[in-house]
Structure formats: structure tokens, C-alpha cells
Symmetry: C2
Subunit: 379 residues, 2 copies
């Protein structure tokens, strides 16, 4: 990393290691290529056109988004094949049609007759047959119909009648609780089986189902057989984080994102080092709290991003982080004077990145200045 340029940044600042990011992107491509599926990266994690260009196949798609604002920004940047992977509410269909009218092939998701009828009505009124994926519930995590729900065919018929039935989609959100490749592979198979069964039910009723979409970062990496699946979605894999390393999907060294912070004080009697990265910088995400190793608000690394043994951000106020030695450890507190620069690895990359307006991207070989990739947000 270009240490000199980083040292000049006001802190807290979000730092992205492009080499690690590219390694993570390549890893999933290498895993899924032989399984015969395409990757549809979920851009909710990066929310950055500069980052998306480095993640998407040939830079412009296919992609997944979590908000219409993401669809609009990435669509304007030339991404032409986008799935909006949150159940559509009827009031959002006008924006969907507007974006589609610009030439972006935006697909929406439904899991109820109310939504299907709204999409059918909007398609008929506009003359644009909106593409639809029906959401399948593969693990009781969130939204979707179970594969043998009789509503599936009813909804499929309404969609195919006036809109475009493109297929089925599921997300194995419960796989985040599975530790290790074996347990995650079982979730991947459950995810595959559920959505393939739904696809077969639709086809058996004479309905089209060209797309069979699965995805979560743990199952994407653990899947061994994706027969019947056409595409895999994943988001946080490009950055990874402590949550993902906690369940064994990556190592801490794979984490591409860190928050640069400065030591602003000490409470020596209590073994505290106080930094200017509080929860406003790290986010309030405490996702590792229930894992085998609780990482507090993040793992502390030195200015070269080398982890400092057993040092974590134990608590956080809005603009103060309190660093301590992990409970139970006998490692002595290092001497980190006021002004010392540190990196903090985040619990949850999506949440931490959302606290910042952009990424500072050091050059891997000092061949260029620090780059800045803006992020956007909102809905």
C-alpha cells in the first residue's frame, strides 16, 4: 500500500485493497466457471460504479441490486442486465418502467398475487412486458413461496399472461449461520433443490422458466453441484469481512476493506486505546457477537494492515472507538501513541462501507497516486 498517501488522509477513512478484491473476484469465478453457471454480482455491497466495472463480466453486467437507486445509477453507467432482488411494491413500478425505457433490462421479483397482478397491470398499461422472477423460499429465512405452494403456478400464469415470466430466484440467507464448507455445501444443495423444484413445477404447467437463480456468499463458494441452476448471486465476497472469516468462507487476510483511524487518547489504567473510528465509521454491526470469536467492532491492524495480536475495537461511541486486548488474552497492550495510524477490519463490509462516501484505493505497487472511488446511497 502507498503508506505516504494514506498517512495524509483525514481519518476515519475507508481503504480498499484492490489486489485483495481482485483475488476474491477471481476466486469465485474460478469456482463457479466449472459448475456451468454465470455470476450475477450483487452490487449492494460496493455501491460504486468504479468498483462495479472491476467486478462485472466485461464491466457492464449482469448484476443484482437491492434498491431502485442502485438500478438507476448502474443503469446510467451502462449496466444493461439488472435484477432488483427485493420484492417489488406496486408504487415502485413507475420507476421500473422509466428505467426500462432507457434500455436497461431490469427484472423485478414477486412472491404474491397482489404483486403479480400489479406487474401485469403495469405491463399492459405501458406496453412493456416487465420481466419477473418468482421468489422461492429455500430455508425459511425471509420472503418467497415454498416450491410446492399452489400459488406458484397461479402467480406464474398471471405473470406469463401479461408480463414476462423469466424464472425463479432464491437466497439461502440461513447459510450465514452455517460454519464451515461442509455445512455451507448442505445449504447450497438445499438452495439448489428448492429452486430447481420450483422451476420444474412451472415448466410442468407449461410455463417458461429460463432463469434459475440462487445466491448467498457462503453457498456460492461452497456449492459442489449446480445442475439446473443458471446463475449465482453474491455480494460481500468481493470485500469479505470478519463475519465471513468467522464462518470459514475466507481468511482475515482476504478482507479487502479496512477503516483507517488515528489514536486520539488512552486510559492506561483500564487498558484502553481510544481512536477516532467510532460506530459512525464502523457501523453498528455487531454480527460477530454470536460467533465463536466476538470481534467487537473490528480487528485492529497496524499501519501496514498487519493484525495486532488480540487487539479489537471493544466498544464504540459515535466518534470514539475503544481498543482493548481481547478478553482472556494475556498479550500486553502495545504502545500506540496519540497520532498512530491503524487499520480496522470490519464485521460486515456492506454496513461499514455504507458509512462512507467513497473508497481510498492505494496502488498495489506505488505506481500511481491513491485513487478515490465514490460510493452512492439512498433509495
Amino acid at each position: 500500500m502507498t503508506t505516504a498517501a494514506l498517512l495524509a488522509l483525514p481519518t476515519p477513512a475507508l481503504v480498499l485493497d484492490e489486489t485483495r478484491m481482485q483475488r476474491n473476484v477471481q476466486r469465485l469465478r474460478d469456482h463457479l466457471g466449472p459448475l456451468g453457471v454465470q455470476i450475477r454480482p450483487h452490487l449492494k455491497t460496493v455501491k460504486s460504479v468504479e468498483a462495479a466495472r472491476r467486478i462485472l463480466k466485461d464491466g457492464n453486467g449482469p448484476a443484482t441490486v437491492s434498491t431502485l437507486r442502485e438500478a438507476e445509477v448502474f443503469g446510467a453507467a451502462g449496466v444493461k442486465d439488472i435484477v432488483y432482488a427485493v420484492g417489488i411494491s406496486p408504487d415502485k413500478l413507475a420507476r421500473v418502467l422509466s428505467l426500462r425505457a432507457t434500455g436497461c433490462d431490469l427484472t423485478v421479483v414477486v412472491d404474491s398475487m397482489v404483486q403479480a397482478e400489479a406487474v401485469a397491470t403495469a405491463s399492459r398499461a405501458s406496453g412493456d412486458r416487465i420481466p419477473v422472477l418468482i421468489e422461492i423460499d429455500s430455508d425459511g429465512h425471509r420472503s418467497g413461496l415454498v416450491a410446492n405452494d399452489p400459488q406458484l403456478l397461479e402467480i406464474g400464469k398471471v405473470v406469463a399472461g401479461e408480463a414476462t415470466l423469466r424464472g425463479v430466484i432464491t437466497h439461502a440467507g440461513e447459510s450465514y449461520a452455517a460454519v464451515g464448507a461442509e455445512a455451507q455445501a448442505a445449504f447450497a444443495e438445499q438452495e439448489r433443490a428448492a429452486v430447481v423444484a420450483a422451476a420444474e413445477a412451472l415448466r410442468g404447467a407449461g410455463l417458461p422458466c429460463p432463469v434459475v437463480s440462487v445466491g448467498s456468499t457462503p453457498t456460492a463458494h461452497a456449492a459442489r453441484n449446480l445442475d439446473g441452476v443458471t446463475e449465482v448471486r453474491a455480494g460481500v465476497y468481493v470485500f469479505f469481512d470478519l463475519f465471513m472469516s468467522g464462518i470459514g468462507v475466507c481468511t482475515q487476510d482476504d478482507i479487502a476493506l479496512s477503516v483507517l483511524t488515528t489514536v486520539i487518547g488512552h486510559q492506561k489504567d483500564r487498558g484502553w486505546i481510544i481512536v477516532d473510528a467510532g460506530w459512525m465509521a464502523m457501523s453498528r454491526d455487531r454480527g460477530t457477537a454470536n460467533q465463536a470469536v466476538d470481534q467487537g467492532f473490528g480487528v485492529v491492524c497496524d499501519s501496514q494492515r498487519r493484525p495486532l495480536t488480540d487487539l479489537i475495537v471493544a466498544t464504540a461511541n459515535q466518534e470514539h472507538g475503544v481498543i482493548t486486548i481481547r478478553p482472556g488474552s494475556t498479550v500486553p497492550l502495545p504502545d500506540l501513541p496519540v497520532g498512530t495510524r491503524l487499520h480496522i477490519l470490519p464485521n460486515h463490509a456492506c454496513a461499514t462501507a455504507a458509512q462512507f462516501d467513497g473508497y481510498h484505493v492505494p496502488s498495489a505497487d506505488d505506481s500511481r497516486d491513491l485513487a478515490y472511488w465514490p460510493r452512492f446511497r439512498g433509495w
Copy 2:
């Protein structure tokens, strides 16, 4: 509230009830006026010039901030008396001096000799004697020196020698764990006693200490005697939130902030209503999790902002909130079809507001259109 205008907003959206906000602002003024202190509102909560104008005395100060960016934005908007209430790091002093050169009387905070010497050096080099408050630790919560720490006088001498020693400052952060006015009043007295003792120690050594600053939302409301204190800081009191109602500082009806959301689905077998406000809208703050009543990610209200009995956002993904009946309640799940608009009261106003770019502010009497007050962020 102007329901028609709210119904046209894309969701999720942040809604601010100006009537409730003004009531909260007036309440603290009414409480602290007779106690003979000035209020220095902490603008880290609102991060909005439009909101600040309605909170600050005569619209332009005094104020407290948590970042130099806040100081710069509010300074440019005409706020001329600002305390940056996070311990200064030496690398930030150039920005402090730049802002002071524009005519903004910005005060910094120190609790170590390293910081004091850095401020003294910067003052000498610039010819601008930077005003300084020495941070006092009144409850073991975070930063600061205990009042009888011999370093207090040493630091005071260094500051007074080359910079401007303006006084002492403390924050009773532990008061957030105190439930009820009696317990909070005890924290207020502890806060007062600590900082007044520090002021007396400085004065006893012949050092100036015109400012004696205390503050937290619970202690600001509970304090009964502020002898020796010159000013009180508070931030979240302008909006309030479920955390503050959980410790009895306000009622749920006082909460001025809500997130407007739309129902996007159901899992009837599981008693779930799914909305488009996930943690990206609510923040990951789960501050009520350890209170007597866990409010999940927020309390659910109807479109008129009337709480729906025992309905909370129990879990959240990035863009999905899952509403359920509170565990243990026998209230039936209400029928809220896809498309229904709901308000969610937040756990922590500072964290939830930070997820949005601005406030939608309905007219109290439908006499004007929905106003929009932009927020800013960053450091």
C-alpha cells in the same frame, strides 16, 4: 402530518415531525433556564443546517460537534461558537486553524500532554491561541482525566502558556444505563461534582477556567442543581428515540423521527409482514436489546404514526425488515396488505438519521408542502 404528500414519497424515507422536535427543544430550555446555564446543543444528531437553525439559540450558536466536517459545515452556515467535543489528534490542527481563520470560534478538547503540546505548538506557530477544554472523566465511560489527576494542572499550564485555556468538559456516558429520573439525577450530580472539582483545581493553581461544560441527554433532563456549571450539552434530545424512552427520559410519543416504509410481502404461516425498511434504513443499532423491553429494529406505527400494539421490526436484512408481534404478546397480527404505508420509530435517532440524506418534514397544519432538510455526513 400531510398524509397525501407522505404517500407520494419513495420508501424508505426519513420523516421528521417538526412539532414534536420543537416541543423537545423547548422542554430542555424550560428545564435548564431556571438552573442558570446555557445550552450548547450537540449537532451530531441532526447534521442539518435547516434543523440546527431551529435548535440553536437565535439560530447560530453556541453548538457542539463530533467531527471537523460538522464544524466546517455549520461554521460556513454562520455558527460562530463551536466546541469540537472529540479529543483532538495533532494531524487535525491544520483544519482547526483554517476554520478559525474564517472567524469561527472553534474550541478543541484534550486529555493528554501530547495533545496539549501539539495545540501549544500549533498556536505558537500560527499566532492563533487555540481555545482548549480539558476533558474530565466523571464516570469511567470513555476519555478524560479524573479531577484529581496531577496531569490536569500540568496540561493546564502548557495550554494556558501558549494556547487559550477555556475550561473543562465532561460527558456522563454511563447515564445511558441509568433508568428513571432518580438514577439519572444521581449521574447528573456525579457529572457536576467531577467537573466542578476539576475547575476548582485549575483555579486553585492560578489557571483560568471560565467554562465548565457537562452533558448527556439523560443528565441534562434530570439535573436538579448545576452550581458551578456554565453550560450543558445534549444532542439526541431534539429527536428522542426508543432507547431514551426505554430509560424514561421521554415517552414514545415524544419521538420526532420515524422511517416511512411500505409493506412488500408476507409469510403468513410465520406471522411475518415484510417491509422495505431493512437495516440500511433503520441502521444496525440494537440499543434496546439489553433494555427491559427489546424493541427489535423499531416500533411499528400506522400511516398516521399511531403505534400498532406490540408490533415491532423483529429482524432486518439490508433492505428487508421483518415485522412480527412482540414475543409473549397475544395480540393478533393486523391485516396490512402489500402497499400499506407504515412508520417505524427508531432505537437510536443519531444512527438511523445517519442512514439518510435528509429529512422529509410535513407541515403541522397542512399549510405548506412537505419540506426537505438535507443532511450531510463524513469527517
